[in-house]
Subunit: 158 residues, 2 copies
Amino acid sequence: MDQKQHEYWMQRAIDLSIQNVDRGGGPFGAVIVKDGQLIAEGYNQVTLLNDPTMHAEVSAIREACKKLNTFDLSGCVIYTSCEPCPMCLGAIYWARISEMYFANTKQDADSIGFSDEFIYKELAKPYSQRSLKTYQLMREKALAAFEKWRLKEDKIEY
Amino acid sequence: MDQKQHEYWMQRAIDLSIQNVDRGGGPFGAVIVKDGQLIAEGYNQVTLLNDPTMHAEVSAIREACKKLNTFDLSGCVIYTSCEPCPMCLGAIYWARISEMYFANTKQDADSIGFSDEFIYKELAKPYSQRSLKTYQLMREKALAAFEKWRLKEDKIEY
C-alpha cells in the first residue's frame, strides 16, 4: 500500500476515536485491513460494556476474527489511533497481525490520565517491585496440564 | 487468607487447566476470588471460539466484570495456572486486580510451544527491532481526540 492509503485508514481510526468520546467511551479507535479491504473497526468500550479488556485494538481483533472465522490474522494490518498498551500489543502478537500503524503515543495517553505507560513500566520490573502483589505456588502440580498438552496428539496449536 | 486457602483456589485453577486439554483448548485455567468467595472461572478458549484474546485470565476477568457489573475488580485475587502473558497481565492491571498467584512460568509455557516469553522479549525491544513491523503516523491529527477527552466534563474515567 502507498502512503495515501495508510493515511486513509489511519484517518478512519482517528475518526472512530473522536466519535467515541461523544459516545461516552475513551478516545481510542482502531481498524483492521487486509488486502486493501476493511475487515473490522473497534473503539474503546470499557465503560460502555463494563469490560476492562475492550480497548479499541482488542475490540477490532475480536471483530476481525469473528468475520474471518479464524484466530489467525496473518496478513492483516492494524491502524490504531494510539500506541497500544501491553494488553493490546500482546493481543496483536497473539493474533499474528503483520503490520501496525499508530498515531498518539503512550506518553500522550499518560498525559490525559490513562495508565498505558505505567503498565509498560510495571511489566519491566521484577515481581517483588510491582504494585500488583505477585506470588508463585504449586508449579509442580500445574505442570501436569502442560505434560498432558505435550502428549496430546490431536491438539490445535496456535 | 491463609496458605491453605490459596492452595485450594490454585488447585481449582489447575483443575480447569487440565480439564481444558480434554475440551480441546490450551492447558490454562484461572479463577477470580473476592472476600473468600469464587467470583469467576476462566480457561483458554482461543481455538474453541476463534478469539486470540480469550486466554484463561482474560476470560475470567470478563466473566467477573459481568457478574459484579463493573470494570473495576479492586479487592479481587486472581489464581492462574500459568504466569500471565503481557496481554493478560495488562488486563489484570486494567481491571485493578489486587493480588495474583501463578503456578507454571512463562519458560514452562515456552517449552510446550506457547509464545509468552517471546512476546515479553518483543515488548522490551525498540520498534525497529521487533518482528511486528511498526510505524507512526498522523499524531497531530489524532491528538484532537485526546484534547476532546481532556475537555469533556462528564467523562467516566478509569
